[in-house]
Subunit: 441 residues, 2 copies
């Protein structure tokens, strides 16, 4: 396979901030978002991140210097959602990314470079909205470590349900309450059944949790009744982001038999602004297979082509910023770190399983991966796992505070990045949300 020039680790940009080896957005990344200048009345439009800047794609389109497929793609990035662009074929996604890459290269000196320079807006001055009109949001449950950790809390004798190793389990989530990073939300009211009680209580959740996840945006959808085979699944994926599936564990555990989570999850789900394309992730793909001593996937979920590079090695971390951290100017404490490469099921398997019965995915649909917990206890992606169901306090070294669940004023910050020898580090930016006190408690 020919090397894609956008993966060349020696490529540098004329924009100095893009060449910082710790930058999330070097010239090898070029993720997409929908943005405008903060506190302005400007229309939201598409943007591509580079270094500490955003390329304003509406301005770039207006300048009219791109041609061919790249120009077609660019014209679809000028509105307040990326759906028109996401609906296009991967060759167009690729052409636009390549044209922007070429114009940003250190030795670029044509009209594209000048126009790109004129289209830059500092990242520090922008705000974002959810980058797609999300028709449906589906949340998977694909970390075997998370499934075992949580299962031990509620079903100690049998933590893993028998279907886990056969099915990428999923449930439908709530699309309307997906919000962009930095949107605070209120602690939810609802019913919980206290241990040993005879009747449930109504009140603010006492067991507030986050869930470290990644999000997958669908590009082209499928016709209802027509499944997407595994070999084609990744061509339907536009890119990935960070996702926090906030959870009210007390409400969730009381309501979820027999039909699954509902109010325990649907009050808020936070996504990061930037969508990293599948093309940018190519250098960080890893081989994937189920352990030989575990059930092997049924044929429709198992192809050699896929298992050769089914995983994605995205480093992930969760940090907690309490009101005390902010008051004292202390950096947020790290709660855990892991990698997305540990998932039991791949993103292609998720797409194929979702459509195998004929369910139609649509452009802009969001799939959550489910909580990402790694193999060791320290790699858990939810506080209910770290605190063993609330039975153990977690110390925050920065402030000396303790936590079993989240408290009002706590902000959770997810970060993700890919790095390995011989490749330039690329990052996902951050996904942050702050828990406000309950309304009407």
């Amino acid at each position: 396979m020919e090397l894609n020039p956008t993966h060349d680790p020696s490529a540098r940009s004329w924009l100095a901030s893009a060449n910082n080896p710790q930058a999330d957005f070097p010239i090898q990344n070029l993720p997409f978002a929908v943005f405008r200048r903060r506190a302005s009345q400007e229309a939201f439009r598409g943007g591509i991140a580079i270094g500490d800047q955003v390329i304003d794609l509406a301005a770039l389109h207006q300048a009219g210097v791109l041609t061919g497929l790249a120009a077609q793609g660019l014209a679809a990035c000028t509105g307040d959602s990326l759906n028109p662009f996401m609906a296009m074929r991967p060759a167009i996604w690729s052409a636009l990314r390549r044209a922007v890459f070429d114009g940003l290269l250190a030795d670029a000196n044509g009209p594209e470079a000048a126009t790109l320079r004129a289209s830059l807006v500092p990242l520090a001055k922008v705000e974002y909205q959810v980058p797609a009109r999300i028709g449906d949001y589906t949340d998977f449950y694909t970390s075997i470590h998370h499934a075992r950790n949580v299962g031990r809390v509620i079903r100690p004798e049998d933590p893993l349900t028998p279907n886990f190793q056969w099915i990428p389990i999923a449930y439908h989530g709530r699309a309307s309450s997906v919000v962009i990073s930095d949107t605070p939300f209120h602690r939810p009211m609802g019913q919980a059944m206290p241990p040993g009680a005879r009747a449930p209580v109504y009140g603010a959740s006492q067991r507030m949790d986050y869930e470290l996840e990644m999000g997958i945006y669908i590009g082209a959808g499928n016709t209802q009744g027509q499944a997407i085979p595994l070999t084609e699944a990744e061509s339907h994926i536009f890119g990935m982001c960070l996702l926090n599936d906030w959870s009210a564990r007390d409400h969730q555990f009381w309501e979820m038999a027999p039909l699954g989570p509902f109010l325990g999850k649907n009050f808020c789900t936070t996504v990061s602004p930037w969508i990293v394309t599948m093309e940018a992730l190519v250098p960080f793909r890893v081989p994937f297979s189920h352990p030989a001593d575990e059930p092997q996937p049924l044929p429709y979920l198992d192809t050699p082509a896929n298992s050769a590079q089914g995983g994605v090695d995205v480093q992930l971390e969760v940090r907690l910023e309490t009101a005390q951290h902010r008051a004292r100017g202390v950096a947020p404490d790290r709660l855990s770190a892991t990698s997305f490469r540990h998932q039991y099921w791949t993103i292609a398997q998720m797409v194929t399983q979702h459509t195998v019965g004929g369910c139609n995915l649509q452009t802009g649909d969001l799939l959550g991966t489910g909580t990402i917990s790694g193999p060791t206890a320290e790699e858990a992606g939810a506080i209910v796992e770290l605190s063993l169901g609330g039975s153990r306090s977690i110390s925050l070294p920065g402030t000396g505070e303790q936590r079993t669940f989240l408290e009002d004023g706590d902000a959770v910050i997810l970060r993700g990045w890919c790095e390995k020898p011989g490749a330039v580090r690329i990052g996902f930016g951050e996904c942050k949300g702050e828990l406000l006190p309950a309304v009407g408690d």
Copy 2:
């Protein structure tokens, strides 16, 4: 309370077909749909049913004879979804319905009547689409009889989960695969775990079922984080329809632990074209309370104002039309009949529960009531209940066939209507779908 003239049982229309006492669409009903002439290239637009005709609301708007609130409402009914109209306040819904009612009255002779007459299209010549852009679809589980019937199949020792009498249980469904009546769909492929097997099998569902439900369309939504109190819940409901939540029971039972139904439900959900407004249903409201020997609702789900008329007495029936019925020209066989008045939770309680944690409903969102099964075995709203989990055959008198689950070519027809002494019967039309053979089996 002043009598709403549209509820006057003595009202008659100049359109003779509207005065048939068995008609679904007398002048007292006036439900809304989105339609166009069948097999035409016309734009879909709003319509109101009267007798055997549809009032073309785009044509009526064009004529410009309505004024005030009614004209405001009418202008919002000309596009290919009713969302702009549903987003308006109930006074506008009411004003448009009243203006149309007045113009259809037997003694109406102004320009409104002439214009209405000129806007009629025969029901027999139209086709429909889903009348709203559905942001999210939620399915409830509010029939205690259904919950007990199904629970006995999978949890004989404890059929009702402990939360049922405290929570209007719900889960998120799939909005993208909601289709309009008369849209056939394919038997889904997927995984099932046969009894006693050590590994699941992949194939077409062997336990295909329907679910008799009603659908509720949301009018005005709520802001994320702001719950809708019970006393205001019904003002957020635009109207109701019939809904068939097709289910692949073998796939569903294998996948649903621990996160609920997913592929077992998301391949297709069918809705009827006509939305009967809450105003038209006023004469058929019934008092509602939980039995004294069962837990009483927590205060946020229980107000005197609501329990006075929380129920809706909609008569419902399920008919099965097999390929044999069609080949022989035999009428479909009735499988069961019941009433919506038996539900354990009200539609207002569903809306309030959905939002109590801060989840935002949006205009056009669809809530399913869950399978509607009455108190006796004959009133069951799903074939898995009628056939006792597939252990008993159901005879179809019309053709002499037998069924335990649905077979390819079977069409299920749901019908609903309201009738009582002193009121004119109103109907919901029908909700029909045919099961086609699996693709790729």
